[in-house]
Symmetry: C2
Subunit: 338 residues, 2 copies
Amino acid sequence: MHQLRKPYLLFLGDVTIKSDAKTAFGLRDWCPDDVMGEWSLPACSVSLGLPRLAPAAAAQQGAGSIVVGVAAVGGALPQHWLAELEAALDAGMDVVSGQHTRLTTFPTLVAAAARSGARLIDVRHSDQTFPAGTGRRRSGKRVLTVGTDCALGKKYTALALTKALQAQGCAATFRATGQTGVMIAGEGVAIDAVISDFVAGAAEQLSPDNADGHWDVIEGQGALFHPAYAGVTLGLLHGSQPDALVLCHDPARTTIEGYPHHPIPDLQLAIDRYVEAARLTNTAVRCVGISINSCELTDAAWSAYRDELQARLGLPVVDPMRGGVAAIASALLALGTP
Amino acid sequence: MHQLRKPYLLFLGDVTIKSDAKTAFGLRDWCPDDVMGEWSLPACSVSLGLPRLAPAAAAQQGAGSIVVGVAAVGGALPQHWLAELEAALDAGMDVVSGQHTRLTTFPTLVAAAARSGARLIDVRHSDQTFPAGTGRRRSGKRVLTVGTDCALGKKYTALALTKALQAQGCAATFRATGQTGVMIAGEGVAIDAVISDFVAGAAEQLSPDNADGHWDVIEGQGALFHPAYAGVTLGLLHGSQPDALVLCHDPARTTIEGYPHHPIPDLQLAIDRYVEAARLTNTAVRCVGISINSCELTDAAWSAYRDELQARLGLPVVDPMRGGVAAIASALLALGTP
């Protein structure tokens, strides 16, 4: 389980395309209190609108980590970014990266970390070993976001749901299972980086026993209908033993992204299959709502789509970006009340 | 993908309980042509009935690897076994181990391997990275053994089926997905040791494109109904894209082994769920037979059980240890004939 030191200094390298800094923007938006400022190289043309702070200055003000908040080309850190990360390490800050290439493959970073005792943390990787899943029922309540595909709003929905539950006076914790989620939460596990034998066990550890009225809101991964990642999804589902599922969907997609021969399933079928699979570790599980990524729809089209879907499925249908997820939070709280 | 060098010298350490040498007995029985002899310490009271050969002598006769064919207490190699393995390395043989503790954690083995250029191979671990699954259909035919639980005959059934297909004149290859299977085949991947994101991709690489009439017989892992390992099972199922499934079952079990709160599913339900899941990557998949581990049944009870099950499910029911798997091999060959 990763445990990160906040607050963060967000490092943008020298990116020039805003979408390459998606992770940094996500951190700024989802954990603003944990973000102290931004830093970048002179050639960088993207800004988060945060105070500019050099690593040494950020460390002096109490920053715990410098976060590489961008997607590097080819998944590796460019050599000319390293001096800034070394400066952060020398100032005692951890370096947090979500790149494919491990920070420990850069000798100058390893040396700098050794000098100061700071840590190199690759949130995309998991060096921890976990026990196998036990299937034991845990106390407290759990909701897991699941999807008809990857990358269509499972993390966003879980974060919004955590806030909505808290706004309704409920104790709720976001449980991160992907690299950006781990950076936002400051802890969690990149579940797709875990050895396959221990995925359910890692998911069990991620949401331990808790108070009766407490909700863990667990970030889902992959999709049961995905030819590459369904195994990750199923292990996470079983280990999470959710009381409730929220199905995330993008109506603009007709096939799994990158897999044109694999259709997106019908929503009722998707619900049925997720509930069927989840019953293995929690027979009381139910789907409590649908979270739609409606960015491709006009206001009128969204409104009509939502009303039709709500009537057809008999479940609240929301878009976290368009009206929020309060209806699903209410459904969860109703579930918790006998 | 592991690639082992045969023939093997089987090393028994100083075990005194036959079942601790299960792996060595399995190798002797399943790949007798690849097993040159056995070696053990003076205190060992178990024998495979093979020629005794010291490592240096075995190397002189062409042995490629010494295989640690026993389950060590606590999963680690005892210190007093290491000299024999060093002797094998010094003679140019690889050391192959299925222990939890990696061979590379023993400095004297690392040094001996460096001296001779021989390899330390931990078949329980997988250091290789695999691409993500593609879902692309491959040529040739595939059958996967699946189960109602772990450890009830999926490897044994796959090995027997490979031999039965070959005996009926069909080109067939056993594809190993577990450590003992990898040792028997001399190649394969311990699928439960793969990073979860790449399980389906690894399974795809394990059974590549092949000739039209060729059957890959893929060793299954885990069970869809297992609270710890279902994700591994599903990833392997999707990546294997089997044309046929053989369901393995032990009628003496009523609950998942080690999970007393998780019942073994009804066999028809198990078939339906496996076929449903497998259709994601091969819509033509079907279950072609049932392989029973009937060791707890008398001859009369087995015969009655088999007949009842055959009638109820409408599928051939076999026990590889009691009459062989020819009926299922025939069903596979019938499937391959348009």
